[in-house]
């Protein structure tokens, strides 16, 4: 799991079965000092409450689909939580 910043939204009417009602957000992965790291990705919102500007943590690969209501869906990045605080030394 990595930190990421929500930088936008994505709307798709036609999508794979099981993804109905799932919100997609564009997120920029961050390093631990909250600086951008790598290319932005589209992530499904497992919290259903994240929005642009928010700091979140994302989960990648197979496990991403497991934060969603249906587990057998084609998703490779998902938002698992909204971050309140990060302390890094």
């Amino acid at each position: 799991m990595q930190l990421a910043r929500v930088i936008g939204t994505l709307v798709a009417t036609q999508k794979a079965q099981g993804l109905e009602g799932v919100k997609f957000l564009i997120v920029q992965p961050l390093d631990k000092h909250r600086q951008p790291s790598g290319e932005p990705v589209v992530a499904a919102d497992g919290t259903a409450q994240a929005g642009p500007g928010e700091l979140v943590f994302i989960i990648a690969s197979r496990e991403a689909a497991l934060v969603l209501p249906q587990h057998f869906v084609p998703v490779d990045h998902a938002i698992a939580g909204i971050v309140d605080q990060v302390d890094v030394r």
Partner: protein, 115 residues
């Protein structure tokens, strides 16, 4: 699995129910010279690790779910599964019998773990 150093904490109120009551720590992935690489993970802690600790991190979903008792579902991948006391190989920076820097690490590990 890899060897990491805990460098921070993450607090989140709104999160997947799996993470309720779990501690999330930022772990820097270390190379075999003991230096942090650019990679890090937010990992779930099941061994009472803290900032500064040298830890063993599991980064694989099936095993993570097994440890958390959440098979077959559970959106988890990175778990801190151990606090490392010593790693022994030729030129190991983690070896307590090695460099003085390592001794410092162990000292800080112990200091941190005292109540």
């Amino acid at each position: 699995m890899y060897i990491g150093r805990v460098s921070g904490t993450v607090v989140a109120t709104i999160k997947n129910e799996l993470f309720e009551g779990r501690k999330l720590l930022i772990v820097d992935r270390l190379n075999l010279h003991g230096q942090p690489t650019a990679k890090y993970d937010i990992a779930v802690d099941v061994v009472q690790a803290g900032v500064g600790d040298l830890v063993l991190v599991l980064d694989e979903g099936n095993s993570a779910r097994q440890i958390m008792g959440r098979e077959p579902d559970g959106a988890i991948r990175a778990v801190i599964v151990g606090i490392v006391d010593e790693v022994d190989f030729e030129g190991s920076p983690f070896n307590v019998r090695g460099s003085s820097a390592t001794v410092e690490h162990r000292t800080s590990n112990r200091a941190h773990r005292q109540p």
